[in-house]
Amino acid sequence: MRKLLFLLMAAMLAIGQLHAQQRTITGKVTDEKGAPIINASVIVKGTNTGTVTKNDGTYSITVPANAKTLVISSVTMEEAQIDIGSQTVINVSLQTIGKNLQEVVVTALGIARDKRSLGYASQNLKGEELANKGEVNLVNALQGKVAGVNITNASGGAGASVNINIRGITSFTGSNQPLFVIDGIPISNDVDRTNSGPNGTLGDNQPANRALDIDMNNVESVNILKGPAAAALYGSRASAGAIIITTKKGGSARGKAEVVLNSNFSIQSAFGLPKVQNMYGEGTSGVFNSTSNNSFGPKFGSTPSLANGLLLGLSANINNVNYTAGQTFPYEAFPDNINDFFRHGTTAENEITITSGDAVRNQILSIGNVTQKGILYNTFLKRTTLRFGANTAVGAKMKIGGSITYTNTAQRGTIGGNNSGLASLLGLARNIDLTSYRVNGTYKNANGTNNYPFSGVDNPYFDQFENPLNSYLNRFTGNINVGYDLLNWLNISYRAGGDIYTDRRKQVFAISSNRVPAGNVRDEMFFRNEINGDLIIRATRNNLFTHGLSLTALIGQNINQRRFQDIAVQGDQLSVPGFYNVGNGAVFSVGSGEASTLRRLLGYYGQASFNFRNYVFVELTGRADKSSTLPKNKNTYFYPSANVAFVFTDALKINSDIFSYGKIRASYAKVGRDADPYLLNNVYVNGAFGNNVASFTFPFGAIGGFGASSRLSDTIPLSPEFTTSYEAGINLQFFSNRASIDVTYYSEDSKSQILNVAVAPSSGFRTYTTNIGELTNKGVEVNVSATVIRTRDFTWDLNGNYTRQRNKVVSIAPGVDNSPIPGNAFIGSIPSFKVGYHYGVIIGGVIPRSPDGQRLINPATGTYQPTVAGQVLADPNADYQFGVTNTLNYKGFNLGCTFDFTKGGQVLSFTAATYKSRGALDITAVDREQPHILPGVILDPASGKYSANNIQISGQAYWQALGGLQSEFNVYDATVLHLRELTLGYTVPNKITNRLKLAGIRFGLFARNVFYVAPNAPIDPQLNTQGAGNIRGLDLQGTPNARTIGANIKLTI
């Protein structure tokens, strides 16, 4: 393998050598003010020989002896042509193109477009804005940088999944994750969930959303198509928006072979843990109890007595030491006992990229590896990517290109959530020294079983080391495209590609695990395969009908197939401890089985784009899809879009340096969406009863059992669902385009959704698949960018984005007020959609209130009256969000920082509840021994009058009254400010790199999740244990977020 790589590298370098020439010209390219221009291209006219300028604007090019002219260009600058003559140093000053700003963005179907011609909002990010900043998941790296996008990660665990929604939720129960497209080929960003324990996906720490497999160093740009208008040509799949990723090509080095070496190393630590008290230790009601994980015991420093339990009345095991009755023991706080459970995670990332060739014929080979040790012991993420891409031309008219990427991702995580070891760590009794259980391996007994003083829960280290979930993924993504110019105005191309992966999982529960006492092994394989083909015929005519009117027309055909298979075999009731072959089980009927889906789609589409004098743009699109998932007589559906853009500064000939550019745009789009597979028929399912506290699964011995699925099919055939969107926007630029503001307003209406709507459970069924319900989304997005300062050596760029998004459930079905979001949930905090509310509210029990809004107290206990079920407990939808990125450049130095701020939204935090009810949270120690009175009123049933609560209760009763897992007291305002990213880079000047015979050296330092300020929450409220999906706003005692600090070096040879 190594030899092969060497040969490949040698071959690629040799291709570069073919272009070796005889004369070297050096120089510097600057703007009219003398500031260096980076990445300006310097090309020998009439050849493919060229280079680009470095960060200081300098270049060095070897030209043929017969070279006559250098063409120097840059995106925002007027092109310059310079006669070479006999010069060896050529310095060039370029003029800014004031009104002809051209920003090329990649739109739907991979079509590169000038941004000014777009009648809808899109936002473009460069690969270097994402890579090498301490994040390995591309979706996380987008955090804070894009307007209209919501990103929340599940946790800081290695490879935890990340949720992304663009412009909110448009489908009640379908996927609301955007479509991910790499080089024109849709890829999977699915989350495949494994959990053989009784908690299902509530068990935390699921392997990642599969965008994790993307190596950001391969990414040239990411364009976010936000609404249906932008994504209309992608059809159904992109109704939740699309993330269009364009990978790097080999030709950027203009004919020169180049090797880029890139290395990162970073350290992660647990982040966002609540503050704890260290005054009181283990026990209840002021009395020490070695089997209680509550910190309501005696105050540290109390004189030991039988009454306070510090003089032991019975023998006890405390911090792994046995004591007998009548003994005392060290009773002291371990202030860091929770923090110390986490280790410093490390991430090492190394890439090598070799490129050669020119703009037409080029190759790229890259190999990258990420090795991450998680902040939890025994967790890791290892990802290796290997990518090869090439483009070439056959004759003058045909272009062929393609790339293939192989990814190997291995992940290990462990369970968390309710009743897990991790949950017992939260608010751990303050005098417990957990480290002793790890260092000596005594988290398990000599016979391998769980050792922990608390019952009903595993030692957290036992879960970490003995109950892992492993994932080994092999993935290929690739594409090939062929384009042919039939006529000089007519091009035909075909692009085919695929994404295929298998993810082999193994989940283990050791014998004596609290969740699965008999132990089990689950071997599971996820297989996904998507094949996509597009035939596109494109015609361009200039000066059509009249001078200055040009038309680009496109017709296309799309074929798409998605196959999914999940096969699992689970062995329960293990015989031999620690032997994790599924054959070691005695029962194989629980959790074993297969789920497969196959869906196909044929699409036909067309687009006509008119451009009048480069200031009026009108575009019409239409697409008809035929889907396999809809009834045969209703499986074809058509949807159109139209958009218009008007650059009024050009049209009106406003020629001002102050107000340099102005564009307004508007669009209308309708996007259809098909159903999920297999919703048209009623089916039977294997018989099973119960949940995580008690359950039964067929077969019963040798007797099989089946029952009707709880989902009913409609008696009326399904039809596709549609989202209609209107969007308007304005983009203004000032001071020769140094400052820009872009505002977008949109309104979307999704009707007749294909919905498994709740029916009365007494009908014998839970849901009914039908076309029903309506959801609306309205929002404002603002992007601001400015070059605040630009001098010869110093620039300060500012980018900001603002998002305000309002979602409303207009109707569900007649008689249905709310319906749960499909997925696992705890009864009492069910993520739901409810008429008149934002999507995703959490429904549970709320304490009854007096007419003036005060909570009612139970006069018998002095604590609150029992809750009334079925109320809205929390709303995870934020009021608004903004992100700000500052970039400062001084000579070779580059300083960047990204803040993001979320206002509002709520999170139900089981984590915070646990800290509270266990008496571990710092505030629970304040005046602990004083009588407490809960705020509220008491109803006198005789008079019907309310009086203020005056019943004194103990500190413990007080905090436990406020500490219920699903209590309204543990719903927190998720307002939070994060310093998300801080980077410092230094590009070594050419003088030095030239001496080292290198093309460039860049050093960087970065930090992620540097700090947060959450004024109303004791935790970092920005996490969502269930990760990617429609369920949001729940922190279910999972892994905390992580802070990352690291360094980067990039060498270009």
């Binding site: 009601s285 009731q573 044929l602 597979p677 067929f698 029916v759 007494s762 018998a860 079925g870």
Partner: protein
């Protein structure tokens, strides 16, 4: 131009493969299954419904057990609001009643053996629903698209029928099932009948025993129907009259097949519930601790109980008295007892006493105690000794009401582990006399709940559900 037309052809050729899209049949779930796979599901289902959360709540309400943590602790102090979605949705109406309806719809004509059994199981499940919630969906329930939002029928109509509303009584449903059992049937159950292995005569006994249970349940309100029903069942002499005929649903010893009493108490929620101090005191007052030890463990050699609703620190989990092998099996294989000989004997004793049905009340009473003691595994010597040393306990004496109290108290002990039956009898007769729990809360902290609150999912999704829901202190029709 030639090239263009070639490409157009290619384009069109893609569009004509109709079969390409014909892939929407699920490979994961069958569109139809035989009756032999549905019957085991419904039978396990009704036992699961009986023994899962409804059992925990009712066992706490009748103070068989005391809740120590989590949901059972909430039920113990009458905090019932928001609970039982899973029971209503997935144990009674969903899966079970819906599948029973499928058996009836598909097999009444050709294989009435299956529809007959289905009607009996259905009658039992509906009786659980109405006995716990009162007015419940019945005549329109569990029929899928025929009625997505079923009407709630009154309890008196469910038990007695109401022709004008098209409601068949539970008694008639049972009788219709009994009639099906004796019809010619193309298919007959065998091992898929996990209780009686295809012996339809035993199912007939089960059906007649259901009639006894229903009759005594409504005896406060319709004594004449109760009397005539019981008299006719006695005359037919075809009911469960020995422990060997008990309608009890078997469970297994392996993961996934264990009964819910075991998986809850011994596996998943080991610290949530334990023996109630009040039951312990009752058993002690009756010198009945030998039998109690069959129901509850004594890990430290003595009973370790907990008072209902207490906020005191509970004893260490390992020392607590929890359900014993009679209820849980060694590893979950104990059957769930639904209709039993001891139950029948106590019903007949009470009916003889209060309704004047044939037979001697004291004879039935003593047969009931004996059947229960034999059932839990007491030896003949232990039983004889108990009878010898406690003549006042095992002999009915005093006023009719006092004798009734004796009968129901014995029935209450015999039903430990089946809280639903004990809860029914308590609300019907007021026996045994139970004190409020400590720290009572709930809809009304001054009254032991007399019904369960409607469940959130049904309230949210069914416009026909009573709204606002009745409080848990509103008595049901059958109650005293």
């Amino acid at each position: 131009m030639k090239k263009i037309s070639f490409l157009l052809l290619l384009f069109i050729s893609f569009t004509s493969c109709k079969k390409y899209l014909d892939v929407n049949i699920s490979p994961n779930n069958p569109p139809a299954v035989p009756a032999t796979t549905i019957l085991p599901t419904t039978t396990i289902g009704l036992a699961f419904a009986n023994s899962n959360d409804l059992d925990r709540a009712t066992s706490a309400l009748v103070q068989h057990i005391a809740g120590v943590a989590n949901q059972t602790a909430a039920y113990d102090i009458y905090n019932l609001d928001g609970a039982f979605d899973n029971q209503w949705n997935g144990e009674i109406y969903g899966v079970d009643l819906s599948d029973l309806q499928i058996l009836i719809d598909q097999y009444s004509a050709t294989s009435p053996a299956y529809s007959g059994i289905a009607k009996l199981e259905m009658a039992y499940l509906f009786s659980i629903a109405t006995d716990l919630w009162g007015e419940v969906p019945y005549s329109q329930a569990a029929q899928g698209t025929k009625s997505l939002f079923p009407r709630f029928d009154k309890q008196e109509d469910i038990y007695q029928g109401n022709a004008s509303l098209g409601i068949t009584s539970l008694f008639d449903l049972v009788k219709s099932g009994l009639a099906d059992l004796v019809k010619t049937s193309a298919l007959k159950p065998g091992n898929d009948d996990i209780v009686y292995k295809g012996d339809l005569t035993k199912w007939a006994r089960m059906g007649n025993t259901l009639l006894l249970k229903f009759a005594i349940q409504i005896s406060n309100k319709n004594p004449s129907l109760a009397t005539s029903t019981i008299a006719s069942v006695i005359a037919g002499n075809n009911y469960i009259n020995s422990n060997a005929l008990d309608f009890e649903v078997p469970f297994g010893a392996t993961v996934g097949n264990q009964n819910a009493l075991y998986t809850f108490n011994n596996i998943n929620r080991t610290g949530d519930q334990m023996l109630s101090t009040r039951l312990l005191n009752l058993a002690k007052s009756l010198n009945d601790t030998v039998r109690l030890a069959k129901f509850f463990t004594k890990p430290s050699g003595a009973f370790v109980s907990f008072d209902n609703g207490s906020t005191a620190t509970a004893p260490a989990v390992a020392t607590r008295s929890k359900y014993n092998a009679y209820l849980t099996g060694a590893t979950g294989e104990a059957p769930i007892r639904i209709l039993t000989n001891f139950q029948v004997q106590f019903i007949l004793a009470e009916a003889a006493l209060t309704l004047g049905t044939p037979g001697n009340a004291n004879t039935y009473y003593q047969a009931g105690i004996t059947a229960s003691m034999q059932k839990v595994g007491m030896t003949a010597a232990e039983i004889a000794s108990y009878f010898a040393t406690n003549p006042s306990v095992v002999t009915l004496s005093g006023t009719i009401e006092e004798q009734r109290k004796q009968i129901i108290t014995q029935k209450y002990i015999a039903w430990i582990g089946n809280g639903i039956e004990a809860f029914d009898d308590y609300r019907r007769t007021g026996y045994p006399v139970l004190a409020l729990v400590n720290n009572a809360a709930g809809d009304n902290p001054n009254v032991i709940p007399t019904r369960l609150p409607y469940t959130p999912a049904e309230l949210a999704a069914n416009p026909n559900a009573p709204s606002p829901r009745p409080k848990t202190d509103v008595k049901l029709w059958f109650a005293k």
